[in-house]
């Protein structure tokens, strides 16, 4: 089954009775309406004409200054001049791919990777090679092997796309040692790394790790960010931090795509961040998501079948779970949808159909009772399928004549 079949099946998740653990939605229900009203009021009083107008392609100065602040919260220093504001992180992925990739060029990325990046890479006809991850993120030993293989093929990857922190969909975080090594490889081999970091500030526990950008100083690392997961996905504001020569091409690309990101939403976000209230808001989100993660992990322990595995991410929005390998997550999804629950099947995060028994489960956008009920139903269909499979495959014995004559019943 390929992408459009999935898309069509997923059409059901829009129905109200479906518990969707398939999304990647932030919980926007706790955003204070007064804060929203205050920004709108300010605009009404002072900025109506301005927000109804075009803005600069690279983004408003205010937003770019605030992005500098947001990145500083992860100990990452950037120059506002190196930032291009984009219409969501998704456009940032699109632009960097458009600028760097010609048909046939190699992109290396995590396995599994962000499902939304795959159609973008494919639309520019990139040759995508995925590197397996373990609990410490992308396996750098495998990356090095792949780079050698590519070298023998006479190919040089155009960039390495990675989500090092609270990865989507894997939920894992690249270890410090591997971060250092990755940046070193980039420098040695002069390969760009595209660091996509929507989730870094959503840390539930543990010490923050340095971004690849900060380790490298912005020489070989291009950074993608977004306000989607820390403020609002509906405002559609993301950004790219790139060295100047790339930035110029990105700006040309953006001009062709949409001239500029919405002036209204930039104004809203810029002032909201300037007020400093975002720190408190993000802290609240972290509280909510941590509780939901715990709820999900506990429900999985209770309801998932023996042999299923999953991780407990220390931040972000997703858990990656793997069922016993006789189960296909696409089959499971079909059955789960008939019980009104949805998730993202593993193959959506692979270019080559891998991840067949795995699934991505989102805990940020769903209330606790629905998380429990959703996980319970998925566990139930998985158990049913496993039981059926066992019944089918253990029947060989049923057909074989008994090796010893049945014992006489004594009674």
């Amino acid at each position: 089954m390929r992408s459009s079949a999935m898309r069509d099946m997923m059409a059901i998740t829009a129905r109200p009775e479906v518990i969707s653990l398939a999304g990647g939605l932030p919980d926007t229900s706790t955003f204070p309406p007064e804060a929203f009203a205050a920004e709108m009021h300010r605009i009404e009083k002072t900025a109506v004409a301005e927000v109804l107008q075009y803005g600069p392609t690279e983004g408003s100065n205010l937003v770019r200054e605030q992005i500098v602040e947001v990145m500083a919260a992860e100990d990452t220093r950037v120059d506002a001049m190196d930032i291009t504001v984009t219409t969501g992180g998704q456009q940032a992925i699109d632009l960097i791919t458009k600028v760097l990739i010609d048909p046939g060029d190699v992109i290396i990325c995590d396995a599994p990777t962000y499902p939304g990046a795959i159609p973008t890479f494919c639309s520019y006809e990139a040759d995508v090679r995925q590197i397996e991850m373990d609990s410490d993120g992308m396996r750098i030993d495998l990356l090095e092997e792949t780079l050698e293989t590519l070298e023998r093929e006479g190919k040089r990857p155009k960039f390495i796309y990675s989500i090092p922190t609270f990865q989507n969909p894997g939920g894992v975080t690249l270890s410090l040692e591997r971060r250092r090594r990755l940046v070193e490889i980039a420098r040695e081999k002069e390969i760009l790394v595209v660091e996509d970091n929507p989730y870094g500030l959503l840390r539930f526990e543990g010490e923050p790790l340095p971004t690849l950008y900060s380790l490298d100083g912005g020489n070989y690392v291009v950074y993608l960010g977004t306000f989607s997961k820390i403020l609002s996905a509906g405002l559609r504001i993301g950004w790219l931090v790139t060295p100047t020569p790339i930035r110029e091409k990105v700006v040309l690309g953006k001009q062709a795509a949409d001239l500029c990101t919405s002036t209204l939403t930039q104004d809203f976000a810029g002032h909201f961040f300037q007020s400093g209230r975002w720190r408190e808001y993000v802290a609240e989100l972290v509280e909510i998501y941590r509780t939901r993660r715990d709820t999900m992990v506990n429900a999985m322990a209770e309801y998932f079948p023996h042999g299923a595995t999953w991780n407990k991410p220390t931040g972000g929005l997703f858990i990656w779970a793997t069922m016993p390998d006789v189960l296909s997550s696409q089959d499971l999804l079909a059955k789960a949808l008939s019980r009104n629950v949805a998730f993202v099947p593993g193959p959506n995060a692979y270019v080559d159909g891998g991840g067949t028994s795995s699934m991505r489960l989102n805990f940020s956008g769903v209330k606790e009772d629905e998380i429990i009920e959703g996980i319970r139903r998925i566990g139930q269909v998985a158990r049913e399928q496993l039981k059926l499979y066992e019944t089918m495959t253990s029947t060989d014995e049923m057909r074989l004549p008994p090796s010893t004559p049945p014992e006489e019943d004594a009674s």
Binding site: R2, A5, M9, M10, A11, I12, A334, Q385, Y389, R399
Partner: protein
């Protein structure tokens, strides 16, 4: 005319239905009708009852929309509707029942056996797999009894693959068929008001199985309409397709999926409500017969009213 357009629903083919519905809505508006678009939900009967449309255009696919559920409801409300009636929908939606009916009417359809999940789970039916494979032969196709769009269809080349393929098929329905694989050309014969439209051939571009992707994605499979068939071949295919349509009691329209093997056509299934998207086969066939999309939609409406 006042038309209630039913689209969406809860089946796995909801997405396709939304696209069929949108295309038909545009056509109905262009034809000057008044259109009330409705999804299946708790307010359905209330909305139909209060708006009292002259006719309901059913652009639903899969369970509930294509299996007679909605049709029965419309009969209760005394609202005329497009496409086949309740009993025909039920027969078409259940591939096993459809094939029994075809056999009874001497319409060729590949050999098959049907398994229910309950029989496997509770009555030890798995011990008959070897015999079933012997009976239908290899390769065979495992598929859910009621599903469309090639969802859950798998080719089996070895007895060992039967359990896996059945798990897949049974993920979409509680019954599944193991059906003998027919090698040949894949044809779709649309029937509109009891008359066959030009035959469409689906020519897969890459893989051997003609899957969901090819069906709804422009350019993923190439279609030829009319299919290049000899006169006698065409006549035979049309005879068999029309026979299937009648045997199952269809009216209004339907699409008969046929494999044309060396020794003649074999009917795979009859779709009571075939796709009505831009690239669907019924609209293509109608076009080849000189009916553009609007004219086809009007004809479907007219047929529903003189039933």
């Amino acid at each position: 005319m006042k038309v209630a357009l039913l689209q969406g629903g809860r089946s796995l083919e909801r997405g396709v239905s939304l696209r069929s519905g949108q295309r038909v809505t545009e056509a109905l508006l262009d034809l000057g009708h008044q259109v009330d678009v409705m999804d299946l939900g708790p307010d359905l009967v209330g909305r139909l009852d209060s708006s009292r449309p002259d006719v309901a255009f059913i652009a639903l696919h899969g369970t509930e929309g294509e299996d007679g559920t909605v049709q029965a409801l419309l009969e209760l409300l005394d609202i005329p509707y497009t496409g086949p009636g309740v009993a025909a929908c039920k027969r078409c939606m259940d591939k096993s029942l459809a094939k029994y009916t075809l056999r009874e009417n001497d319409i060729p359809t590949p050999d098959w056996v049907t398994y229910s999940e309950a029989a496997i789970r509770d009555f030890g039916a798995a011990s008959t797999f070897a015999a079933a494979v012997e009976q239908v032969g290899l390769p065979l196709v495992a598929k859910p009894a009621s599903q469309g769009s090639s969802l859950g269809v798998k080719v089996v080349t070895d007895l060992e693959q039967v359990p896996g393929a059945l798990i897949t098929a049974l993920s979409y329905d509680d019954r599944a068929l193991l059906e003998s694989w027919v090698s040949g050309r894949e044809l779709a014969v649309s029937v509109l008001g009891g008359e066959t439209l030009p035959v469409v051939e689906a020519i897969p571009t890459e893989s051997n199985a003609y899957d969901f992707e090819a069906r709804y994605e422009i350019g993923a499979a190439s279609f030829e309409c009319p299919a290049s068939l000899g006169e006698a071949e065409t006549a035979e295919v049309e005879r068999v397709a029309l026979g299937a349509y009648e045997a199952l009691g269809c009216s209004g329209f339907a699409r008969v999926d046929v494999m044309l093997a060396e020794d003649g056509p074999q009917v795979l299934e009859v779709n009571a409500i075939p796709g009505l998207t831009e690239t669907s086969l019924l609209p293509q066939a109608a076009e080849a017969a000189g009916l553009d999309f609007e004219a086809m939609v009007q004809k479907i409406l007219d047929l529903s009213l003189d039933r």
